[in-house]
């Protein structure tokens, strides 16, 4: 029994890491630009499928590097052409536009790569189990955790110690002042959007290795990411990270004790958070209500 529980906690942490990667990207964009990027799951799926297509040419490692970058590049184009004109307007329109984009992404993915699930080739050494007792600790799962920790660490370091990161954080608080101080806010928003989409692409490649490929892979991961942001608190990236891990573990545990509540449990958590701490665990009062 302990092994089953440990297995599910471990699994939950991994799923939570996905949610966190997704949700961090969503959070970045939401905090700076006020746009809920509903197409985030579409970008994730695109990253996954690009990696699938690239692996025969550049190998797994190449794909891990190139696919998220290509996804981010497409993100930059879409931001420039479709999303930029909506900044500062009614949030309704950003939501609707990205909602439509999500439809298009899913459909195009299905059109190009087919509706069936596709197998995703991993290097052999990543698929072996590392421990005979804890069979679930495969090389790939450990590898994933390492990549996620590295990516999240790099993101937080960049936000805290680079000029761009400081500007993003400052812009999150008061974009007008940042603009007045001579920072090109358009470029700042674009780069920030690109970083967010990069995280989605990276999550996509990692998710493909764990869950396999299907056109709806992104749609299934986006709702929990919203929950992660709300539980963690709007405006707090650290909160988003913790929120993602928490709901991952919670659904992992629910899978042991109440299998039919595996998905529902995270919404119950969200309800409780809204009831007892409406701004979320680490959210700041008075921002982005």
């Amino acid at each position: 029994m302990t092994q089953v529980v440990l297995f599910n906690i471990f699994n939950g942490l991994i799923v939570g890491a996905f949610y966190a990667l997704m949700a961090l990207g969503l959070s970045l964009i939401l905090n700076l630009s006020g746009v809920i990027n509903f197409a985030h799951g579409g970008f994730l799926a695109l990253g996954a499928y690009l990696a699938y297509t690239l692996i025969p040419y550049v190998g797994f490692w190449g794909a891990l590097i190139v696919a998220p970058l290509l996804t981010a590049a497409l993100g930059l184009v879409i931001e420039r052409v479709l999303i930029r004109p909506l900044y500062g307007g009614d949030p309704l329109y950003g939501l609707l536009l990205t909602f439509g984009l999500a439809y298009i992404f899913e459909d195009v993915t299905r059109f190009i790569w087919g509706a069936q699930s596709l197998p995703f080739q991993l290097p052999a050494w990543l698929t072996t189990s590392l421990s005979s007792q804890f069979f679930f600790v495969t090389g790939y799962r450990v590898f994933m955790i390492v990549v996620v920790v590295a990516a999240v660490g790099a993101l937080f370091a960049a936000l805290n110690y680079t000029r761009l990161g400081m500007r993003i954080r400052a812009g999150t608080r008061d974009l007008d002042t940042v603009s007045t101080l001579g920072v090109n806010v358009r470029v700042l928003r674009s780069l920030n959007f690109g970083i967010g989409i990069y995280m989605a692409g990276l999550a996509g490649v990692l998710a493909a290795g764990l869950l396999g490929l299907s056109p709806t892979i992104g749609a299934n991961l986006i709702m929990p990411s919203f929950v992660a942001i709300i539980v963690g608190g709007l405006g707090s990236l650290l909160g988003t990270l913790i929120g993602g891990l928490m709901i991952g573990v919670a659904s992992g545990l629910a899978a042991v004790y109440f299998p039919s509540a595996t998905e529902a449990v995270i919404y119950v958590m969200m309800g409780l958070v809204l009831l007892f701490r409406p701004r979320g665990l680490l959210g700041e009062e008075g921002r982005l209500h």
Binding site: L92, F99, F111, I230, S260, T262, P278, L288, H289
Partner: protein, 316 residues
Amino acid sequence: MNGLRGHRLNVAVGIILLFMPFWMGAIGGYTELASRILVMGLAAMSLNFLLGFTGVLSFGHAAYFGLGAYGAAMAIKYLGAGTMPAIALGMLVATLAAMVIGALIVRRRGVYFAMVTIAFGQVFYFLAFRWNSVTGGDDGLTGWHRAPIDFGVATLDIFGSDKAFYYFALVIFGVCVAAMALLLSSPFGRTLIAIRENERRARFLGVPIEFHIWLSFVVSCLFVSVAGALYALLNNFTDPRALRFDLSGNLVIMAVLGGMRSFWGPLIGAAIFVALQDFVSSRTENWMSVIGLVFVLVVRFFPRGVLGMLRNAAKA
């Protein structure tokens, strides 16, 4: 803005709806499509009570639509309820849910409100999806159908005749729409519009904002659940897709497409959207891209919707 002011428009809409099953065939449609437009129109207009007239961005109305649908379907399947009691039960379930969830989210605004409503909407989707033994799970709830309504003196065979069902739905549509129009022209409705226009000022005037938004949310969900119940009756079937977030998004785009500042706008948007969806999905597998494109085009080029544009053209 007000449903009671533009009398000529009201009469025109009434006449068009009254004869829809007859002219629908002439332009290549069918009676069931007319009923679907009516039902989705009611749903979009109900959503717009909150979205357009209170200024609160709800992106999770599919939940209450679906609760209405499941409530009605389960009442018929498991309780052997008649048509009207089934609709009433669907309304009851959805309204209770809206009262509880509304209380949790009523302090949130803007994007935050949107996100919370989206996320909460999914609870019921997963309930319906997972609770196989009762809801039929992913396959949906089958093995029941709507029954003719017995008025004592006469029977309306809404099961055997598509047209009879259309007119049954039209009566309910009319009652709901009239109720919403009355509410909007009442002091309560005026207060909602005041909140939409300037929440802070309304608060300074002593309006209990949270209570009004909560009540508007509940009213909106109540009417959307009627549409959901009608939808289940129309199809003699319901499945988790009636609860899923894409329906929420579709309802919002219907309202925006028609014009969310006008009373009838969402009905027009629903008519365009439903007809387009029907047309495109019968011709190409890639209908999702077309629908997605509609979202993008509406946002970029027609953010004020059809009625908003007509109104601008009339002014110019």
